[in-house]
């Protein structure tokens, strides 16, 4: 009761004055609250993964370090037409076309699986792709992203050249380390050391293993439009002497859930076994094949909230 009475003696203005009076000396230090906040948060700025190094899972013919986000399925339609220098009779290559249809699905943010079917050689392919290292800024910097890629392809075309084709002989494998760095929001470059192993080679003197070093990149001209280039150099070998390095130049156009990639290349295959080891056209002689990839992303499974 005494306490209750006492409390009523203290009127509110008096109390407030007391309270503010006590706090007043600190007031001058609060001029730049935001600056202070930023300074505070800068001290323990977390590492941040650099993403969107490339827009799509393909640079042009080959893969990029990108994998789709967890639960995302990508439907990829790719076309390569015939050579531009085949003349008007062939409608500058548009009369011929090879096609690959593919599905990719990301099981996690770092791991995806894919399957595809190419009209060239009636080839089925399947691949695994894993983001092993992610480029990171901040406290723990990592300069590059590294994605590991492996695929198997089975050519199913009926052959009548007298060779006994078993399933094993029709199969070829690719192993790649995709190493990329996003130098700026606009510029990303990638290196692709590659090994392609064919179980069967036809030509005398040709090795089963083919080593190649790919290099490529993209430069974004606008937020949704980029220029891409890709080159696969065959290391000295029989294959290097008898086939050509794959060259490709193109653009990415992004529209919502679609990415359109249009390009010219001297390769008519769209999987590593084909465009790295079986390219015959001379790009600089006008053997340019117009082609495109269209990818459409579907969210199959929404990501569990990270809250």
């Amino acid at each position: 009761m005494i306490m209750k009475k006492l409390l009523t003696i203290f009127t509110r203005p008096a109390l407030l004055a007391l309270l503010l009076g006590a706090a007043a000396p600190a007031a001058h230090a609060q001029a730049d609250l935001l600056g202070q906040l930023e300074q505070d948060t800068k001290k323990d700025a977390p590492s941040q993964v650099v993403d969107a190094t490339f827009k799509a899972t393909r640079l042009i013919n080959g893969h990029t370090v990108q994998t789709p986000g967890e639960g995302t399925m990508v439907f990829l339609i790719s076309h390569r037409f015939g050579a531009l220098n085949s003349g008007a009779y062939e409608f500058f290559g548009l009369d011929q076309a090879t096609l690959r249809l593919g599905f990719e699905y990301a099981l996690t943010d770092r791991f995806e699986v894919g399957v595809g079917r190419s009209s060239l050689g009636k080839t089925f392919d399947g691949f695994l792709k894993y983001k092993a290292i992610q480029q990171t800024t901040g406290a723990h910097q990592v300069p590059v992203s590294v994605t590991l890629f492996t695929s198997a392809a089975v050519m199913t075309q009926r052959m009548s050249n007298g060779i006994d084709y078993t399933l094993g002989k029709r199969t070829a494998y690719t192993y790649q380390a995709l190493i990329a760095r996003k130098f700026s929001p606009d510029l990303s470059l990638q290196l692709m050391p590659t090994l392609v192993h064919r179980n069967l080679v036809i030509n005398e003197g040709e090795k089963n293993d083919v080593f190649a070093l790919g290099a490529g990149g993209r430069y974004k001209l606008t937020k949704r439009f980029s220029l891409n280039a890709e080159y696969y150099y065959l290391l000295p070998s029989y294959t290097a002497d008898h086939y050509r390095n794959s060259v490709a130049l193109g653009v990415d156009i992004e529209t919502g859930g679609h990415i359109f990639q249009m390009h010219v290349t001297n390769s008519t295959g769209m999987i590593e076994q084909q465009f790295i080891t079986q390219t015959t056209g001379n790009f600089f002689d006008g053997y340019l094949c117009f082609g495109f990839n269209v990818s459409r992303n579907f969210t199959v499974k929404q990501r569990a909230r990270k809250i």
Binding site: I2, M3, K4, L6, L7, I9, F10, R12, L15, L16, L18, L19, L20, A22, A23, A24, P25, A26, A27, A29, Q30, L33, L34, Q36, L37, E38, D40, T41, Q48, D51, A52, P68, G69, E70, G71, T72, D109, P185, K223, R224, E254, T255, G256, G257, N297, T299, Q302, R303, R305, K306, I307
Partner: protein, 219 residues
């Protein structure tokens, strides 16, 4: 003398006895207690003026006829200075989590350009601060803050509405406002214009801890 004896009883009596009085006397009791404790330990009085968090929640929601877009972020940094009624918060754009990963990529790459503009910030002043702060210890206060909101590199005057509440020594803040992407030079291409609302509603939920002046007021 009576005052002093009451004073002593309040300080030395069982803690439960002191707290039991607070609801009855409301804000006055809390204020008195604050002053009493504050006088005893001047440092503590300063500490109660400033509240800070680095793990505040923010979410936004865009509803359109084509699709709903929603994202959350629990890395909001905020400072409240109850001595002056000043408020500041900073939102790291890159930490917004979407259910659809492609949306998240587009949000960062194409719309917010989070490489160029990594943070959205607000600095402001409570409207009618003296009145609000006087009432704050007793009850949840509906408040408005006036200040500048910077999003996507564009700074505009903004009014943020919300509530403030002191709870168990923490300052609990709830705020909501709307943002029109067009106001902040966020370019939305014609093709997807139907997918993104003209006005996006933003909600903020912060639980700020009192900070000691030694930490908060370093130069």
């Amino acid at each position: 003398m009576a005052y002093l004896s009451g004073f002593c009883r309040a300080l030395t009596g069982p803690a439960a006895g002191v707290w039991a009085r607070l609801p009855r006397r409301g804000g006055l009791g809390a204020l008195l207690l604050g002053v009493l404790l504050g006088l005893g330990r001047p440092q503590a009085a300063h500490a109660q003026a400033k509240y800070l968090t680095r793990a505040g929640h923010i979410s936004f929601f865009s509803a359109s006829i084509m699709e709903d877009i929603e994202a959350r972020n629990d890395k909001v940094a905020a400072v409240f200075d109850l001595a002056t009624g000043q408020i500041a918060f900073a939102v790291p754009i890159h930490d917004f989590q979407f259910k659809r990963t492609l949306m998240q990529e587009h949000f960062n790459e194409n719309y917010m350009e989070s490489d160029k503009f990594p943070k959205a910030t607000f600095t402001g002043q409570l409207v009618n601060a003296a009145q609000v702060l006087k009432q704050l210890p007793s009850a949840t206060q509906p408040v408005e803050a006036e200040g500048s909101l910077t999003v996507h590199g564009v700074t505009r005057k903004a009014i943020v509405s919300g509530t403030l509440q002191l709870r168990d020594g923490q300052l609990v803040v709830f705020a909501y406002f709307n943002i029109a992407p067009a106001d902040y030079a966020i370019d939305i291409p014609l093709l997807v214009r139907e997918h993104i609302a003209k006005s996006v509603s933003v909600r903020i939920n912060l639980t700020c801890d009192a900070v000691a002046p030694a930490v908060a007021t370093h130069p």
